[in-house]
Symmetry: C2
Subunit: 215 residues, 2 copies
């Protein structure tokens, strides 16, 4: 894995992972890149090219073994590792995230919740005690927290991110409706984007959308 | 707009919209496709090609007027229209969505909440009374609801989608962790995908990610 992998390829990996998990659960053992392409609305040469970024996984003409491919993609995504995670902001989104089943299943162990609201501090949410953000830095260091989730208000998001990085987190998942920047990887989640796409499709005839061979 | 527009182009429109909103708020009046490309990490010819799908918006060499471009993209996305919207499933995610500021700002008016939980029915959440899903069909017809949001459990998601479509919704925004299918546009939101991308970046040297010229 010495070559640089493009952002677009990285963003397709979760889709491969989801689709292959589905196939694996359905008992499918082998699949060709052509068949995979049809099912996923991609083109076969792109799939082969994507997998080649990570060393191949299959032999042309023989197809891929679903379980092996799935295991490889899982390892590449790093979701077989464990990341201690804190959530800052225990409002509606923070609460939904604290209860989000996707975390633990993918190695993200929520170990701390933080909020400035006096009525929340000391209370239990999703089995964890809510703490004041002034305790965050020490908590991150002591618990070797590597991921910080931000579900606080827009105005605090960047300063929370800065503090998280100063305390040693290695990545940030941001839900505040403003892009935060950091010297570590950041995923700014744009809920609106998906709503905009839905809006587009609602206002245009479904026939306006061409089959997707590009993304 | 007689040409078919590819899914990949549609998915880039929200990014243009966000970036141009930011420029417009910052008082930027004009921008070239080259400058826009640099700022967004895309390439200029792709931007021109994307905008050409919708009839252009600018003259080569003269750049784009930010405000006009923003207005055009807004109109294309259809977020200048109003969509009555219901949410089914008033758990943590449903509650976060009911309070989501992105809805009203983009023309999605939440007018009904539904949940099977006896302790929730009749209670107010985000200013609306929670109703039993048995009332949903009639409610959708009477209130000319065009969008259904699903934040219920995985096992109920598809049957809720079916009922929504039978009652007349024109689009579905699904947060249940399973893809639903429908004869109307559906956006299945995969929260995990963004977490997987973060996981990838955490486990690989940041230098492994190449600048993105593709997506």
């Amino acid at each position: 894995m010495n070559r640089k992998v493009s952002e677009a390829v990285i963003r397709r990996l979760p889709r491969y992972f989801r689709h292959l998990s589905m196939l694996n659960n359905a008992g499918v053992k082998k699949i060709s890149s052509r068949r995979l392409a049809e099912q996923m609305g991609l083109n076969a040469s792109q799939i082969r090219q994507d997998f080649n970024c990570f060393g191949g996984f299959g032999q042309q003409g023989y197809g891929y073994r679903v379980e092996t491919l799935l295991g490889n993609i899982k390892a590449i995504l790093g979701i077989d590792e464990t990341h201690n995670t804190v959530i800052v902001g225990v409002g509606n989104i923070g609460r939904a995230l604290a209860n989000f089943e996707g975390f633990a299943a993918n190695g993200f162990v929520i170990c701390g919740l933080f909020d400035t609201a006096t009525e929340l501090i000391g209370r239990e949410v999703a089995g964890l005690t809510v703490r004041h953000p002034s305790e965050m830095k020490e908590f991150i260091v002591e618990n070797r927290v590597s991921v910080g989730v931000i579900s606080a208000r827009r105005t605090y998001a960047q300063s929370i991110a800065d503090e998280m990085v100063a305390a040693g987190v290695k990545g940030i998942w941001n839900f505040a409706p403003i892009d935060v920047t950091a010297p570590v990887p950041v995923e700014n989640v744009h809920m609106n984007d998906s709503l905009y796409v839905l809006s587009y499709k609602l206002t245009h005839d479904a026939d306006d959308t061409a089959p997707d061979n590009e993304e």
